[in-house]
Symmetry: C2
Subunit: 206 residues, 2 copies
């Protein structure tokens, strides 16, 4: 089906620097874990795809779960890093910029994002924490960009509502990517951006 193409040296093993090897394995992990769950991915397959022995994976990550954790952490870091912090302009404008960057990221890194989301929802405490951390960073931006509270006053109730809104945005984006239903990119952004103030508007304790 597929043969190893990375083999630099003729006959034997390929020796990389620890950093390179880690990168390779994490990249591969993100890709492979986007569409299957952890127990549907055998170390055997992973090792074969990577062109290494099973043992090497354990050398780098200790065990399968730790590997998964590292993969998810990497996907989360990627997300935070690549959805650049907002520039300047009106709050509403900055939010659109921010959402736009988020949407682009999910479109471009669909696999990485899926790995992250699936792990968070289906996984253990640690995995969920990694996800929560990433999401907090994202949500935090919403409040930070609106320091005066022009759009969103910072109260317990609105914090809750923003969490809910985040979940909606995530669902909208993933669902739209899977099936756009004739909705354009701009319309989607409009829906996501406009719905936050709309929801906050109907929040009692605001």
């Amino acid at each position: 089906m597929s043969q190893p193409t990375l083999r630099q040296t003729s006959g034997g093993r390929t020796r990389l620097s620890p950093e390179q090897r880690r990168e390779q394995l994490l990249d591969l992990g993100v890709k492979l874990l986007a569409h299957r769950s952890l127990d549907e991915l055998s170390i055997d397959l992973l090792a074969e795809e990577a062109g290494i022995s099973r043992g090497l994976l354990y050398h780098y990550f200790g065990n399968k779960h730790a590997f998964h954790e590292a993969v998810v952490r990497r996907a989360a870091d990627d997300l935070i890093e690549q959805t650049a912090p907002p520039v300047d302009g009106e709050p509403m404008e900055r939010m659109l910029t921010s959402l736009s960057a988020y949407l682009d990221y999910v479109v471009d890194n669909h696999e990485g994002y899926l790995s992250l989301v699936k792990a968070a929802a289906g996984g253990n405490e640690t995995l969920r924490e990694i996800y929560e951390e990433a999401r907090s960073a994202l949500n935090g931006r919403v409040f930070r960009e609106d320091a005066q509270g022009d759009i969103i006053p910072d109260t317990p109730a609105t914090r809750l509502v923003v969490r809910g809104w985040s979940a909606m945005v995530e669902e909208l984006v993933l669902s739209w990517i899977a099936e756009p239903r004739g909705v354009t990119r701009e319309e989607l952004l409009e829906i996501m951006a406009a719905s936050l103030p709309a929801i906050v508007e109907v929040t009692p304790g605001r």
Copy 2:
């Protein structure tokens, strides 16, 4: 840590009717799968907790995944069954009733609901289908008699938006249960109910 207390017969094995045994195992499964993923739950542990041999689990469910599926299906059926069928009245009123029943269920059956949600997010096609089915049933109750589209016109864009709203509702409920933040039950319901029309209002293609 914990010792089997269910042993009716003095020395040997406990014999139940197939129905009772199935129930026991499904109940236990729901509980155990609320906070860990499937591959973090060994048949060994499950059998020990249930006070049975590993073999018996296979006798009843065939294999581990089938067991998981049965557990999730049971949680879904529970949800549908226990969130009482919709009453009549104004659309907005029905929505409140429905959301209220849903909230109560999630509060009372937190573990069952978690098992369901986690399985859906992290799992395979079959598991996701079970979840989708349950969610459709729920959404269906809310919208069945809004045939005129008084609140929600039926368009591709609004379908997408309703999906998003559902995700938000789920997140709000779970998040509120974990940390109410001073928001009352009634306020929460108000937020969830009012936000749907609010979001639809700002949807371009409606």
